[in-house]
């Protein structure tokens, strides 16, 4: 992937000052969503989106660049098949079932 070192014109302190509170709130939204999932009624096993979300969360703290692109790739359809028609298909769901190695 492209080297993007020092492409943001702000220094680290400026980025933190400008964006911390906004992203603190978003992080709490994610936490509350996961709590809500855990508190939900019924015995259904987690669907593929939950697994994908936890895998994506793992990428956030791996210290490597291009987190956004890598999360988007993780949530992408990587198959080669082309169905003939969209008839009966649901809208986009935002994630696909993970295959072995996707969460690494």
């Amino acid at each position: 992937m492209k080297d993007v070192t020092e492409t943001c014109p702000l220094n680290r302190g400026q980025v933190m000052a400008m964006y911390f509170l906004e992203h603190r709130a978003r992080l709490l939204d994610v936490a509350a969503f996961l709590d809500r999932l855990d508190r939900s009624c019924g015995q259904e096993s987690p669907d593929f989106r939950e697994q994908a979300l936890y895998s994506a969360i793992g990428l956030l703290s791996d210290g490597q660049p291009h987190r956004t692109a890598r999360i988007l790739a993780l949530l992408s359809d990587c198959t080669d098949e082309l169905p003939q028609s969209a008839e009966g298909m649901k809208g986009a769901l935002g994630a696909v079932p993970l295959t072995e190695g996707d969460s690494e």
Partner: protein, 268 residues
């Protein structure tokens, strides 16, 4: 600060949106033909829509002092029935004569099906035959990466210069490949499913400002017709120069769109 919104569906917006956009600095919009939120039942429905895009909407925009241009096609979501799609495509050559039509768009894929791909290729051929610019819709969410690659493969199988094709709705996992393959890239600033102004500014910082623009793609869904000036503001607060902000929100769209002899922004 003046700007061009090169992808917005004004038929779905109110007149006061035009007024607010003009106040925010918008001087011109280009409106691709798209899915109206429901499937039209006949080609006649598209005939009326194309008249709205070429006759009515430019007049409504002019009342706010905004120039309105358009693109024509059958959108990928309604292109899954090839026979129906061909009836619509047959209408397009006559409308290509209208003075505000810039090209074919937004064509592309939705669910990456073979039927959509057939109609995509036929509309690429239409653009090729009539020497038109092309504006491309890429699929949403999990379908985007695969669909974007399929679309670029189909476009590169044609004789159309990639410099005359804009691939829209790029995100961080597709923008690099789009630019590397010689196409223009469009970033859609959308509250939920696409990009925020902050991420768009990040992409400019990481991938540069050549062959790239931003648009709101404002439509009938959750969208923001003032997304482009909000991205200008985001770049400004990061300390980017006025020259860079102007490039990605005015000069770049002007440069790409001016490849059509019909596109000209009146100096005020």
């Amino acid at each position: 600060m003046k700007y061009i919104d090169p992808h917005i569906h004004m038929v779905s917006r109110t007149t006061d949106d035009y007024q607010r956009m003009a106040l925010a600095g918008c001087v011109a919009v280009t409106e691709p033909a798209f899915w109206a939120g429901f499937d039209r039942s006949s080609a006649q429905g598209f005939f009326d829509y194309f008249r709205q895009l070429t006759e009515y909407e430019p007049r409504r925009a002019a009342q706010a002092g905004i120039q309105h241009f358009t693109w024509l096609c059958i959108n990928p979501k309604e292109a899954d029935d090839p026979a129906f799609a061909r009836d619509v495509i047959a209408l397009i050559p006559e409308f290509l004569k209208c003075e505000t039509v810039l090209g074919i768009g937004e064509i592309g894929l939705n669910k990456n099906t073979r039927n959509e791909q057939i109609i995509l290729e036929e509309q690429i051929a239409l653009a090729e035959t009539h020497n038109q610019l092309v504006l491309v819709h890429t699929p949403h969410l999990e379908d985007k990466r695969k669909g974007t690659r399929l679309i670029m493969d189909a476009l590169q199988a044609s004789s159309i210069d990639p410099g005359r094709i804009l691939i829209d709705h790029v995100e961080e996992h597709t923008v690099g490949e789009v630019l590397d393959r010689g196409f223009w890239a469009g970033m859609t600033l959308y509250p939920d499913t696409k990009m925020t102004p902050q991420r768009a500014a990040d992409v400019i910082e990481m991938y540069g400002s050549e062959r790239i623009w931003m648009n709101s793609a404002g439509d009938w869904g959750c969208s923001d017709p003032l997304a482009v000036p909000k991205a200008q503001q985001e770049m400004r607060r990061r300390g980017h120069t006025t020259q860079l902000i102007d490039q990605v929100t005015y000069s770049n769209p002007q440069k790409f769109l001016s490849q059509s002899p019909r596109f000209h922004v009146a100096e005020t």
